[in-house]
């Protein structure tokens, strides 16, 4: 589903790869969380040609200084990682439906791919690149790029 959405938004061919092992040393032992920066480093090795790799994990991921992240990707990088861990946590005692979790996952996949394609965060509240924190915020966004971001993306891919 994430792959299909990425393909729809960015008009790039997607493929689903075999499961990828979590890299050693990526776990914060004292926090039982995985270091997203280490994961994208390991995902980015052996990439040849114009290929981007987006990893999806059910583990909780974060960065050394943060309590959590939903996903992590560097601008123009080759690899991103997304975690479903916090997308399915109960909110006000209600466990989110599977379809909602998938929608969230797809949105984050689009967002992180946007970073891989060279986009940074956007000020338009209707743009998926606007998202930076909070599930509430994520749920209000449509899984699309605003026109400005489309223009930016166009300019980047032409280069």
């Amino acid at each position: 589903m994430a792959a299909a959405n990425i393909q729809a938004v960015f008009d790039i061919a997607t493929d689903v790869a075999a499961p990828w092992p979590a890299p050693r040393g990526a776990v914060f032992s004292h926090r039982s969380q995985y270091n997203a920066a280490e994961i994208i480093k390991s995902l980015a090795v052996n990439i040849h040609g114009p290929v981007k790799r987006v990893g999806i994990t059910s583990r909780d991921i974060t960065l050394p200084f943060l309590t959590y992240v939903f996903g992590e990707a560097r601008i123009g990088g080759n690899a991103a990682v997304i975690s479903t861990h916090r997308l399915q946590l109960p909110c006000n005692g209600i466990i989110p439906e599977k379809s909602l979790v998938y929608t969230r996952l797809s949105k984050i996949a689009i967002h992180e791919t946007g970073h891989l394609m060279g986009l940074s965060h956007c000020k338009s509240s209707r743009c998926i690149m606007n998202f930076s924190v909070g599930l509430d915020k994520l749920d209000t966004l449509s899984p699309v790029l605003c026109n400005e971001c489309k223009v930016r993306l166009n300019a980047i891919t032409k280069r």
Binding site: R31, A36, A37, L63, I75, H121
Partner: protein
């Protein structure tokens, strides 16, 4: 948020790298440094607005770096990043000037909100600075006529600096044309009220009824002709400065009313029943001898004590002769530039004449004289002959041909006033009545012609 730059200082590469990537995605410009000394080098080359400093670093630690940054670049904001459990050092850092701190690990929301807040603060500060710069340019225009290097004027400038920040009433004394309003404006522009209005009113220029409605404003129908509600100067001066020029002309009855306003900071519009609050700083000025007015009961002692908390006395021009050449050249340049003329200076004789004249109209008179000189001047230098309309106290020998034999209207006026005043036994009011002019005008003329009562 444009041009908001962040410097990250951390000895751990992973931390630097992921934090900087994170902030770059947020749209900020980011640089990194791996140690305190590196950070200081980086700031020297290129000033960031915000520095995120890791508390624990080998060598120069976070607190030490904070101190160094705050000493060298006080306007740079510093946020300390520290591990849980070391809140004491974070609080210590706040006391030493850190803008905030973050306890590691922190929520992404927290980081975004904090940085947006600091960026907004910075933008506001920049905007204030821009306004201030813009005002100080205006201020230069205002202040230029107050030029002076004499110790008397330097003391006045110092006094302005000393008292500008307080809210105490200021009483400015000085002869006509010495620049009392300029001093009042200078105080306003140096005070915390500078972004609020400076409201001036010349109390000697209007009748008592008009002054009252000017000061207090009026409600609709308060008197014939009051077809609309009008806010008075006191109300307009709220959060700003109220300048009452020629305060000596206010009637004792009005002084009582004003005294009440000064004490309660509230008043009523004419014909109004609703109490209105106004927070203003009061600056009063007069060219008159207030103690004499108090003596003659034309001025209330209690009102005088209320408005005269700080007195600034501007010396007359003839008491600071050393400032005359400076001012003369300043006005010469100003008018020459404004009129597109090429008048560069004054001849030594012209300077001498200027310093010998006794300037009853003070700086304003000098300004007018220089304006006239620039208009008439056809050479790069203003010669003494262009200034012959100035009569020094002692007539300079060999001066003026035909002019010398003419009697000036002002001379006739002066001698007539002197004569009449003598006949009235020195009673100014009576004399004014006889001459059919108002008392204020007569007082000014007496002062101008230096007639002894």
């Amino acid at each position: 948020m444009n041009e908001f730059e962040i410097l990250i200082v951390d000895d751990e590469e992973a931390m630097r790298e992921s934090l900087s990537a994170w902030l770059v995605r947020e749209g900020y410009r980011v640089t990194t440094a791996s140690s305190g000394p590196n950070a200081l080098d980086s700031l020297e080359k290129h000033l960031s607005q915000l520095v995120l400093v890791d508390m624990r670093m080998p060598g120069m630690d976070g607190l030490e770096l904070l101190r160094e940054i705050k000493t060298a670049y006080p306007e740079v904001m510093v946020v300390m990043i520290t591990a849980y459990g070391s809140i004491e050092s974070a609080i210590k850092a706040m006391k030493q000037g850190a803008s905030d701190y973050l306890l590691k690990p922190f929520d992404p929301e927290q980081l975004i909100v904090l940085i947006e807040k600091l960026a907004a603060q910075r933008a506001l500060k920049d905007e204030n600075q821009r306004l201030r710069r813009c005002l100080s340019e205006q201020e230069d225009v205002w202040m230029e006529d107050l030029l002076g290097q004499s110790s008397a004027m330097r003391a006045v400038f110092q006094q302005i600096e000393d008292i500008a920040q307080s809210n105490t009433p200021v009483f400015i004394t000085g002869e006509t044309g010495t620049g009392k309003e300029l001093v009042a404006r200078a105080i306003h522009l140096r005070s915390k009220r500078l972004f609020s209005p400076f409201v001036a009113i010349n109390c000697g220029a209007v009748t008592e009824t008009l002054l009252e409605s000017e000061l207090f404003g009026h409600e609709r129908g308060a008197f014939t002709g009051a077809t609309q509600v009008r806010r008075g100067r006191i109300e307009l001066a709220d959060t700003g400065t109220l300048f009452l020029d020629e305060v000596g002309e206010i009637s004792p009855r009005m002084q009582v009313t004003l005294l009440r306003v000064l004490e309660k900071k509230t008043f009523f519009r004419l014909g109004g029943s609703q109490e209105i609050h106004s927070d203003f700083r009061l600056i009063c000025a007069t060219h008159r001898d207030i103690s004499a007015l108090i003596e003659s009961r034309a001025f209330r002692r209690d009102f005088y004590f209320r408005i005269n908390v700080i007195n600034i006395d501007i010396p007359p021009l003839r008491d600071r002769i050393e400032d005359i050449p400076l001012l003369a050249l300043h006005f010469l340049e100003k008018f020459s530039r404004e009129m597109g003329k090429n008048v560069e200076g004054l001849s030594p004789e012209a300077f001498e004449l200027l310093t010998k004249y006794d300037w009853p109209g003070n700086v304003r008179e000098l300004k007018n004289v220089m304006e006239r000189a620039v208009v008439l001047c056809k050479e790069p230098t203003v010669k003494k002959s262009l200034l012959t309309f100035l009569r020094p106290e002692r007539q300079l020998p060999g001066e003026g041909g035909l002019e010398k034999d003419l009697i000036r209207l002002s001379d006739v006026e002066a001698s007539h006033i002197k004569h009449t005043l003598g006949a009235c036994g020195g009673n100014v009011s009576k004399c004014a009545e006889l001459l059919n002019i108002d008392r204020g005008t007569l007082s000014r003329k007496i002062k101008k012609y230096r007639i002894k009562k």
